[in-house]
């Protein structure tokens, strides 16, 4: 079975986690298709693209660059993602956009059976139709209840279950068929950033388990009914502060045991 990971950053940390988890389970020849970083454009091209929003766009770009510099995806001594892909005999491809023809054509040309998402924007139908078995995503929230953004934080705020859902990707927002759901354990001393960092590794592991299971036959699929879930959006700092407090309250309770088997 031919696997490919799609990611929106050329050196995606999450894609590295997924690749490592797959390699640990014996997979080789996994491809990675990454969105290339935007090429610097001439001032005239920038002015045409942004018009009067140019100062804001420039400020935003600078801020993103500073943030990347402050939190590099890799340290200087770490092999590049391309090198890691090559080491397990996969192909690393840069494309202008994950929703573009280049990405779709690459999936078709490489005869990819199953795509795993390593941090991507909403994908459109042409790309989703390319892999034979479909596209899987590990969503950092329990579906169908928690769709959208910052769902771990929303679950903490609302006293809901913190968990990861592996699901097939359809053109909706986290609306595809559910494969696995697994709780995220809350440990003493956890902060939200720590929890999310650990959850990222858990997401990668759960995705790799789903890929392994796909070798043995069709994956279990539970469709999500229309109107079954709720969509959440980026959380305001005032609510994030409350979510952090709820996490502390949860830690004072007895922590939930780590599940040994993901439920379908």
């Amino acid at each position: 079975m031919k696997l490919a990971i799609l990611c929106s950053h050329p050196q995606s940390l999450y894609a590295r986690h997924i690749l490592a988890a797959l390699t640990a389970r014996g997979f080789r020849g996994v491809d990675v298709i990454a969105a290339a970083a935007a090429e610097p454009r001439s001032p005239a091209a920038l002015l045409r693209a942004h018009g009067r929003r140019l100062p804001r766009a420039a400020a935003g770009a600078l801020l993103r660059r500073l943030r990347r510099a402050a939190r590099p995806a890799v340290s200087s001594g770490t092999p590049s993602l391309a090198a890691l892909v090559a080491a397990q005999e996969g192909a690393y491809t840069l494309v202008p956009a994950l929703n573009g023809e280049a990405a779709r054509d690459r999936l078709i040309a490489r005869d990819v059976d199953l795509v795993l998402l390593g941090g991507c924007p909403i994908l459109r139908a042409p790309v989703l139709r390319a892999p034979r078995l479909g596209t899987l995503n590990a969503h950092m929230g329990v579906l169908p209840r928690y769709r959208g953004m910052n769902v771990l934080e929303w679950a903490l705020l609302e006293g809901g279950e913190a968990g990861i859902t592996v699901h097939f990707v359809d053109p909706g927002v986290d609306t595809g068929d559910i494969v696995y759901v697994e709780a995220i354990p809350v440990l003493p001393g956890d902060t939200i950033p720590l929890l999310k960092q650990r959850a990222m590794a858990q997401q990668a592991d759960l995705l790799s388990r789903a890929a392994l299971a796909a070798l043995d036959g069709p994956l279990p699929r539970r469709p999500q009914a229309a109107g079954e879930g709720r969509q959440y959006f980026a959380m305001h700092p005032a609510l994030l502060a409350h979510a952090a407090r709820r996490l502390q309250e949860r830690q004072r309770e007895r922590p939930a045991p780590v599940p040994t088997e993901a439920r379908a």
Binding site: P55, L157, A238
Partner: protein, 425 residues
């Protein structure tokens, strides 16, 4: 000047036309003045303040602006707006009316007892300027007095709040006279057409039904309660399946501003609470939900929304944004769904970013422009007093709502609206 604008629109190429209009605007609105120029440049470059003020600081800045607007004419009324070209307008009875409510609500929590006196002075002014037939007039107090339905409703709300705060029966009596007038000019189908803007019915008169319901709740006046219900039932009939409202623009055929949509939603939600009528609350919620989705997906609200929620994003109606902050915050209080509070906090941030907090012009400093950019189609180059009022309302609502998050986690399931009404009304 107006003929130059017309000539420009007809004859000149678009780029030249824009430049000609800009020159005319600069002259008419005195945009060459440093503070006005700074505001325009800031909006042109889409720059926000260096630092978003803390909530208490923002409240103080907005209240200080309202205080300056009230002190301009020394009669207790609040100047309707500050115009970049012309300065302060005369007092505006309609909006002074509901500003009373905000001053009273904020005085305690914000530690500003002087605002109680300001509210009282405003209420006394309203009693003085009430028309002989019991109504309040359209427009400024200096305008030829013409009775106005919507304006009367807003003053009634302020006087009810003033009566509750100070116990002065003159306030209640004036409010009751206003309510009797409203009942008298209402059409049988529940809409108001006579003495309405452009003499057409508006669904945002739900924000007239709300104070009528409040008055009826206190006085037990069945006629007033029925008038409120008739109007709200009419409003429900104007709502489309997707939550949008017909007859919500100022003029026939005009797409409604976010401002008038928010008036409608607030009126329905609050009247629904007062009258314990789930259908009104649900209608308001349906519209609010539609706007919430639009806001979260586009990260801003359009200035106007036509049928099917088709938005005009060339400008933002800051007043409407502030109002939606209050409406969503209130829906969180009523339903426990923290997504409403989340959207409210975000849109309040947007409104506060548009305020020139450090302007040297006291007419701009701490005021909320009508539109962003300031030359947008609503209250062009003006800083209306009701925008500051609604920004304060959203901040006060947020201050009431945020502590609710510290309580037991909100119910995972969406509570039935009837249960929410019973608990939180």
């Amino acid at each position: 000047m107006r003929s130059l604008r017309d000539l420009a629109k007809r004859c000149l190429p678009p780029a030249v036309r824009k430049a000609a209009v800009a020159v005319e605007d600069a002259a008419e609105h005195r945009l060459y003045r440093p503070a006005s120029l700074a505001l325009c440049l800031r909006d042109a470059l889409e720059l926000g303040p260096a630092r978003l003020p803390e909530r208490e600081e923002a409240c103080a800045g907005l209240l200080d602006w309202l205080a300056r607007a009230q002190d301009v004419w020394q009669d207790g009324g609040v100047a309707g707006w500050y115009a970049l070209g012309e300065g302060w307008s005369p007092g505006y009875p309609e909006t002074t009316g509901y500003i009373i409510v905000t001053l009273l609500e904020g005085a305690g929590p914000l530690g500003r007892p002087a605002d109680l006196l300001r509210a009282r002075r405003a209420a006394e002014w309203e009693v003085r300027v009430q028309l002989p037939d019991g109504s309040w007039q359209a427009g400024f107090v200096s305008s030829p007095p013409r009775p106005a339905v919507f304006n009367t409703g807003q003053v009634i709300q302020g006087l009810l709040a003033a009566h509750q705060a100070f116990g002065d029966t003159a306030f209640a009596a004036a409010a009751e006279r206003g309510a009797a007038w409203l009942v008298g000019v209402q059409d049988p189908d529940g809409a108001w057409r006579r003495h309405e803007y452009h003499e057409v019915p508006h669904v945002y008169a739900a924000r007239v039904a709300w104070p009528l319901a409040q008055l009826a709740e206190r006085s037990g006046d069945r006629r007033v309660r029925e008038a409120a219900r008739r109007n709200l039932e009419w409003a429900l009939r104007q709502q489309a399946a997707d939550g949008w409202f017909a007859h919500c623009g100022f003029a026939p055929g005009e797409p409604p501003l976010t401002h008038t949509l928010a008036y409608t939603l607030e009126g329905l939600v609050e009247a629904g609470v007062v009258l314990k009528e789930e259908r009104y609350l649900e209608a308001g919620r349906r519209g609010a939900d539609a706007l919430l989705l639009l806001f979260e997906r586009r990260r801003r609200l359009a200035g106007t929304y036509g049928p099917g929620w088709t938005g005009d994003y060339r400008f933002t109606c800051l007043t409407g944004c502030a109002q939606m902050g209050r409406v969503w915050g209130r829906l969180f209080e009523l339903t426990g769904d923290a997504r409403y509070l989340n959207a409210a906090a975000k849109i309040t941030d947007q409104v506060l970013r548009a305020v020139p907090w450090t302007s040297r012009d006291p007419g701009l400093r701490g005021g909320v422009p009508g539109s962003q950019p300031v030359w947008g189609d609503y209250m062009r180059f003006r800083v209306p007093n009701w925008a500051a009022k609604f920004a304060l309302d959203s901040l006060l609502q947020e201050a009431r709502a945020l502590p609710l998050l510290a309580g037991p986690p909100p119910a995972a399931a969406r509570p039935a609206p009837a249960a929410a009404l019973a608990e939180r009304a």
